[in-house]
Symmetry: C2
Amino acid sequence: MEYPKVFKEVINHFTLLPGIGNKGAERMVYKLLELDQESLVAFGKALIDLKDSIKYCQVCGQLSDQDICPICQDNDRDQKTICIVESPKDVFAMEKIKEYKGTYHVLHGTISMMDGKTIDDLNIASLMKRLNDPVDEIIIATNPTREGETTALFLAKFLSKYNVKVSRIANGLPIGSQLDYADEMTILKSLEGRKDMY
Amino acid sequence: MEYPKVFKEVINHFTLLPGIGNKGAERMVYKLLELDQESLVAFGKALIDLKDSIKYCQVCGQLSDQDICPICQDNDRDQKTICIVESPKDVFAMEKIKEYKGTYHVLHGTISMMDGKTIDDLNIASLMKRLNDPVDEIIIATNPTREGETTALFLAKFLSKYNVKVSRIANGLPIGSQLDYADEMTILKSLEGRKDMY
């Protein structure tokens, strides 16, 4: 007893996605069979159109409908402050705090020894172009992971030849967390990054 | 800052699937963007073709590439024993034990007072047709849930007018489980269903 061919095909496609195993993919396909054909066609077409219809901002590299994203076009934002992040979803995360008024630069990845990815594989050319105009500060907001830290160090070195202030987002205990549940590295970083209260 | 239109569209489609929330759907779409266009087209086309290319066996109602599924065509199997299950995936579950040599009948649902689904909404017409030929035994293997039990009772009543042995799969403690973790109903069923050892 085997699944029909297209059934298996759809299962295989789903298992390419993060967090979806064979069993999960099966459940997806059974659910799809319950949807009407119209929804399936819309779903299928959206997948096919996805890549062609999505643009990346020519300035910062963020996902966008337009050639230049709304943030890079917005003169109410501080165009002289650039926050460097790893991926488009990090921009959405930063925007959620509603406090940051500068712009972004999306690297689309990190330097990774494991995967043989160097700084040349990142969205750096357009960053260099942005540095031709005066920039006040560059905030490096890559993730505090091995790859993110490596990338931050490389970027800091790379940016040292430009006349620009470079900063790194802080590490420490997340709000609402408990000291006795935190890992040693986080506590260490939290201690090193302590601030004078008076 | 908003996601591009098609991006949001694909997210919405994914959230229709079981166990996928907004955050999970976002992760899926980011992953899709990393795939090559060829894979996306294949994925999209498979979704569009899914329903049209999948047939249901005209005899038992199981998912199939053909008009009649391999099990219903297989003369090495006992065509006079029919195991009634709720859904196509239950057939795969039964086949995994590699012990059952009869055929199946897939109801494609259960009777459900909540959803207003009656026996007429199930795949019953083709079951009646099968009962025109001699049948030795019908095993009702709907799930031991409220809906599955209701459906089993209805089926038993419905089948009583035919000259056929009707049985129901056993309830009890699953193999490898522990008595003190089992719920009361399972223990009760396990006690009621006890078998003489000598």
